[in-house]
């Protein structure tokens, strides 16, 4: 298993794209005031089991945008642990598009250790064929994390009758002066949205592709181009889309 340590020094900025075709472990740390955008794309072969572990420590007043993109692997186990110190910011986006008999087991632990830490986590999953998604996300706000602001949303699209999604968005708040929330939603591809596109000359498969891409990639990042390219390629492999 590949193992890599990424450290960003105090006050420095970094932007990285990490592409994996097999299991990997990443330890990421941001010193005080550092900024980083890190995208990790899993495009392992569909017959290979993958384990991805990411351990993140965000220092005081540091800011991280973390993007995880799961497209490959037969059975993928993702484990992400994030801890934040005071005044730090974290935007965490997870995207997964699974087809055939792919399986994703994702566990995320996000800990606000100290005061005035801020996080926004947005997870998007789409499952086609007989793919299965099993996600558990836990946002914990410790007693010392007064003034913390955390929000976590997990949205899923089931693209076939055989696909299955299980989401457990957990929240544990151990102090009073915080803002915390989470949400989860599942729905089919909207018939209204498809009709809207058809009425503008974009029909059938092209319309579904646009909606799916828009659903999965509803965030902004410097490395958007590369992430979009990987997702588009995967969308092209889905039957009926």
């Amino acid at each position: 298993m590949k193992a890599e340590t990424i450290s960003i020094a105090a006050g420095k900025e970094k932007c990285m794209l990490l592409q994996n075709t097999s299991s990997a472990t990443y330890s990421i740390s941001l010193a005080e005031g550092a900024k980083a955008e890190i995208a990790i794309i899993n495009s392992a072969p569909l017959d290979e089991n993958v384990e991805m572990k990411v351990d993140v420590k965000i220092g005081k007043n540091a800011a991280l945008k973390l993007i995880g993109c799961t497209l490959g692997g037969k059975e993928t186990k993702n484990e992400v642990k994030i801890s934040q110190k005071s005044g730090s910011r974290c935007e965490h986006f997870e995207v997964a598009l699974l087809t055939g008999a792919q399986r994703l087991i994702a566990r995320t632990e996000h800990l606000h250790c100290e005061s005035k830490s801020f996080s926004r986590s947005s997870f998007r999953y789409a499952a086609a064929g007989s793919a299965q998604v099993d996600v558990q996300g836990n946002v914990e706000i410790a007693q010392k994390a007064v003034g913390a602001d955390a929000h976590f949303v997990a949205k899923s699209l089931l693209l076939s009758r055989e696909a299955r999604v299980r989401v457990v968005p957990m929240l544990s708040v151990k102090t009073g002066d915080v803002k915390a929330g989470h949400g989860a939603a599942m729905a089919p591809v909207s018939a209204d949205e498809l009709f809207y596109l058809e009425s503008r000359g974009i029909e059938g498969k092209e319309g579904k592709r646009m909606i799916l891409e828009g659903f999965l990639l509803e965030f902004e990042a410097k490395q958007m181009g590369k992430v979009r390219k990987a997702v588009e390629k995967k969308i092209g492999e889905i039957d009926g889309i």
């Binding site: 089931l158 696909a163 299955r164 999604v165 949400g183």
Partner: protein, 480 residues
């Protein structure tokens, strides 16, 4: 009964004070008529209870089968710490003095016991706005009544012990069969072996009971295990509202409340089950409540969990018929030393079913509230719509709020939404109200009332007024 909730505090205080002065009240003072001879939870005790009740053989067999399951089942692997709960130290059956058959007039209830229920306002509530009322004291139902016009419609509202003898075929069909079988969990098995009291409600096809039926449970004996069984059957097109309330004095010995509620909502029927729980803090409140909801039926759970030391409660709706619907509306309050592990389970097992869960919790003084829910959509269940909303107010830095919602979907066209928000009472809202001349305590009270309004508005007026008052009492001095 709304008055009952507030005055329960007075009753608890009275006994609590006595308890402090003289350890535990004497058995004479506790109105004990009969107490089982066996110590601990044993097969002999199961047989003694069945014998004392004069039950038919089939019920004894059910009890013994449940006891065998209870011995094998492990304690739950999730939820609050139950290690201090000593099941063998509990007294499983206490019959109050003067109990031979439940009278239908309050004047025939033993005076000391009647006074307790008078203080709680139960007879008053019955006079004013109930179709029928029932009152349970420790292990036995002491009072039951049903308005004549409701009786004439063929409605049955009686205590469970009488139902076993008077309506055996009906009870056999429904009692701990497919809704809550004994093997469901350790506490349902315990209940199946040692249950006593509770009520049986049967509403025939097409009958609509216009006003609620109510039962009030009083746990009086220290170190007691109250395990009443509620069975509600609403046939096709029927409609019924059922309300239960409960309280207990505070002793140093822990008590257990392990009830089972089974509801069968027939095709096109409507059942509303309302429960306001205000047990004292030495009570472990571990219940199993479940409804099987048939085609086009509506099941509504409205609950307030205010008391007890530890509560584990997850009312479950199994939507087995197409078009079935469930609503779960709950309030939980956790103060110092309290753990409320509550939630809702909804299983969508047919097409075009829908559900809504709204859970509001408040914790202060080091209390812990935890929402634990399950939303399951089965394979092939098309057209399902479900929403879950669980919000919490944490009033100080000592308290904890957690949510553990499990969403498991196996249908590609289900529309599911879930959201939760946790925070303190908003400073902006407080400032807004105080700047308009409202003092801080009143402002907190207004905000909290607004927070719990979606649930309280579903209660009958008297209960709603008292629920607001009880919550206000708990929240006094909460800000800061």
């Amino acid at each position: 009964m709304g008055i009952a909730m507030k005055k329960a505090g007075n009753v608890a205080e009275k006994y609590g004070r006595d308890a402090k002065l003289s350890a535990l009240p004497s058995e004479r003072k506790l109105n004990v008529g009969y107490k089982t001879k066996e110590k601990g939870l044993t097969e002999a005790l199961v047989r003694e209870i069945s014998d004392v009740k004069g039950e038919p053989e089939w019920m004894l067999k059910k009890r013994l089968d449940s006891f065998a399951i209870f011995k094998q089942k492990p304690m739950p692997s999730f939820g609050p710490d139950l290690s201090r709960l000593d099941l063998d130290a509990l007294t499983a059956f206490v019959r109050p003095k003067g109990k031979d058959a439940a009278p239908t007039s309050w004047k025939d209830v033993p005076p000391d016991i009647r006074k307790t229920f008078d203080v709680l306002g139960v007879p008053e509530a019955e006079r004013k706005f109930l179709s029928g009322a029932s009152a349970q004291y420790d292990s036995e139902v002491l009072y039951k009544s049903l308005r004549k016009n409701i009786l004439e419609l063929g409605v049955i509202f009686t205590d469970m012990d009488s139902a076993v003898k008077e309506y055996p075929e009906l009870v056999k069909r429904y009692f701990m069969t497919r809704c809550v079988p004994a093997k469901d969990n350790k506490f349902s098995a315990l209940h199946g072996a040692f249950w006593s009291g509770g009520s049986f409600v049967y509403v025939p096809q097409g009958v609509k009971v216009p006003q609620p039926l109510q039962i009030y449970f009083m746990m009086n004996y220290p170190g007691f295990g109250q395990m009443e069984h509620t069975l509600i059957v609403a046939e096709q097109g029927a409609s019924v509202q059922y309300i239960e309330g409960c309280s207990a004095p505070h002793y140093t010995k822990d008590s257990l409340h392990s009830a089972v509620v089974e509801i069968f909502a027939g095709k096109g029927s409507r059942v509303r089950y309302t429960s306001i729980q205000n047990w004292s803090k030495n009570v472990y409140n571990l219940n199993t409540k479940r409804a099987i909801v048939s085609e086009d039926a509506v099941m509504e759970w409205v609950g307030g969990t205010l008391g007890s030391g530890v509560t584990m409660l997850y009312p479950c709706s199994m939507l087995v018929g197409k078009g079935a619907r469930a609503e779960h509306l709950t309030i939980s309050l956790a103060g110092e030393g309290q753990v409320k592990d509550t939630g809702a389970k909804v299983l969508h097992m047919a097409p075009n079913t829908s559900s809504r869960v709204v859970s509001k919790s408040i914790c202060r003084g080091g209390g812990l509230v935890r929402y634990r829910g399950l939303l399951h959509v089965g394979k092939g269940c098309t057209g399902v719509k479900a929403s879950v909303r669980c919000d919490s107010i944490i009033a100080d830095r000592k308290s904890i709020a957690e949510t553990v919602p499990v969403i498991d979907v196996r249908s590609d066209d289900a529309i599911i939404q879930h959201e939760a928000a946790v925070g303190k009472i908003s400073d902006d809202q407080l400032f807004y109200l105080m700047s308009r001349g409202i003092d801080e305590n009143e402002a907190v009270s207004l905000i909290v009332r607004g927070f719990i309004e979606p649930i309280v508005k579903e209660l009958p007026l008297e209960y709603a007024v008292e629920m607001n008052r009880l919550v206000e009492m708990e929240m006094e001095g909460a800000v800061g």
